[in-house]
Amino acid sequence: MNPVQASKGAAIDLESISKAYGGFKALDGVSLRIEPGEFMTLLGPSGSGKTTTLNVIAGFTDVTSGKLLVGEKSVVGVPAHKRNIGVVFQHYALFPHMSVGRNVAYPLTLRGIDQATRQARVARALDMVKMGDFAHRYPSELSGGQQQRVALARAIVFDPPLLLMDEPLGALDKKLREWLQLEIKRIHRELGTTFVYVTHDQEEALVLSDRIAVFNRGRIEQVGTGRQLYDEPATLFVGRFIGDSTVLRGQARSDGNSTALSIAGETVTAPRRLAGEASPVMLLRPEKLSLCRPGQNAANGANRLSGTIAEAIYLGSESKYEVKLADGSGAIVRSALTGESFGLGDKVELCFDGTDAKLLADDSTADTTLT
């Protein structure tokens, strides 16, 4: 409540949090440490537990087991209204019977702050989201983007050490979303508050976050920076969820320090092997793959797989190809327009360097979760 202490965010510790609804485990032993002032995104498909985690932190949902610390203090059992945490909802949740100014003043009124201070802080919060001229309007007179900015002002006006955002841009169109992402980033920098952001949009997560926690089936699959998740996915699910990827499956044979996959009669190798018993698959990023005509020498890679162009998409600065491989699976390749271009139905060879292939345990369930 003191504006001076507010410049620092609170740390959050989730320690093996579980939440069961009857037999269904919405959260299954989630542990996560969020540093003070960090922008942490909880990313995952719907039903993966990311929103449940947010509701647990906000105090809307109680946990079945586990520990939750906000600012190093346990808040298990503390009701939502005593947690002093700002929340921004996907559906804005502005009070329709109050003007914008009264909406933003609401948390200050509840805290018994005198009117002069209240007005100054409401004005400051509205200025921060660039809605200073709208204090006398009613929510129904605002567009979705404007309403969400007012909701953001209302959630930060009482200087909470932690701000939670539940898919706040989910209902907005792409242009507005991209602009508001930058606004949210700027506000995070200016406030120094800890932000926890829930989204199912991996691009949004990459734009905004210091770190991302990838959720799947009530568990965290991996926590890391966007680059870590993209370059070094810990699981096949993470690799497929973040960015485009091609997954190669085949008859696996491991010897010494390398792994070979035989796919419809052709063999590709990677100079690594997977620990454990799980059957390995290879995950390749589109920019690590290249295309060439059959028989032609490729720029990179000892590995070659023959295929056919199934889809060619012109993206302005580059082209994106979908290649159908001999075993029927698909591969995604991105290539700069300066290179050779291919048409639908062209016979091609897909080339890559074995060191660029990530070996991951096959989690065949990942396919069904993604769609």
């Binding site: 809307f60 209204h81 945490i85 700002g86 909802f89 559906h91 009070f95 329709p96 929510p139 129904s140």
Partner: protein, 290 residues
């Protein structure tokens, strides 16, 4: 309600030649209203001024007799009590209807509607059995060791009976408004630091007021004209205006006086509603509701 919103109006000027069509469709209703409301009302006003001869003698008689003014005031007092009782009883009930699953809601709706389908006379007579000195309520009180209470032929008895008959008119508009209130707003209020009770009084209650007002107006106005329930449950000290009208018209054949009482009641009601209107007008637009 949204019809008063100019934005909600369809672009009527887009097809100027067809602007009369909506009116053509409402013509049967308008003709019916004129025939069964407009014409009789006009007759009442004319009779109050013309029987037995032209002049204001009927109004002079009404305002000259203190008993008439007492009854008029009592009519409004009883109606106000009935409205209050209905609001207090209906509010939690209507809220419950929004909070439960569809199956329980159906049961709750039926509990409201089934008595509604039973004739008011029958329900009032059953209240006589419940409320009378040797009735169910008093025997229960006595067997519990309390002394009995006088309910039948008192104002309290009239209020209880009328409130029960009129309760559906309060529950249904309240329910329809409450159904539209986004309960997630309560969560938002709590995240901003509001205790559940505070969230209710600052968010839910203000948003439900349009339903309270709509129900209250219907119940209050219906109460003003109630005849059977006060006649059966009330005593001489709880006579309402409708009983006086009935006496003047049917027993004494004083159509002029009856008409004058009707006009006085109508005008007073309009004045009260006009006074209440500014309070009920809310600044936020209808569009703010989901």
């Amino acid at each position: 309600m949204s019809a008063s919103d100019p934005i909600a109006q369809p672009a009527a000027d887009a097809r100027p030649g067809r602007a009369w069509r909506p009116f053509a469709l409402t013509a049967p209703a308008i003709i019916l209203l004129i025939a069964v409301i407009g014409y009789p009302l006009l007759t009442i006003v004319l009779r109050s001024l013309s029987e037995p001869e032209w002049g204001l003698q009927n109004y002079a008689w009404f305002f000259g007799a203190p008993v008439n003014l007492t009854v008029l005031q009592r009519t409004f007092t009883i109606s106000a009590w009935v409205t209050l009782v209905c609001v207090i009883a209906a509010y939690p009930y209507a809220y419950l209807m929004t909070a439960v699953g569809p199956r329980v809601r159906l049961v709750l709706v039926l509990c409201v509607l089934i008595p509604f389908w039973v004739s008011g006379v029958v329900r009032t007579l059953s209240w006589v059995i419940l409320l009378q000195d040797s009735g169910v309520i008093n025997s229960l009180l006595r067997s519990a060791g309390f002394s009995g209470v006088k309910l039948i032929r008192t104002q309290t008895g009239v209020v209880i009976g009328m409130a029960q008959v009129l309760l559906p008119f309060m529950i249904l508009p309240l329910y329809s408004v409450m159904q539209g209130i986004d309960l997630r707003l309560m969560r938002a209020a709590q995240s901003l630091g509001a205790r559940p009770s505070r969230a209710f009084f600052t968010v839910y209650l203000p948003l439900s007021l349009p339903g309270v007002y709509a129900g209250a107006i219907i119940v209050f106005i219906l109460s003003l004209g109630f005849y059977i329930t006060p006649a059966l449950l009330g005593g001489p000290r709880s006579t309402m205006l409708s009983t006086l009208v009935q006496t003047q018209v049917l027993s004494l054949l004083q159509w002029g006086r009856g008409g004058a009482m009707g006009v006085v009641l109508l005008v007073t009601t309009f004045v009260l509603l006009a006074l209440a209107a500014p309070v009920m007008r809310s600044r936020h637009r209808e569009a703010g509701r989901r």
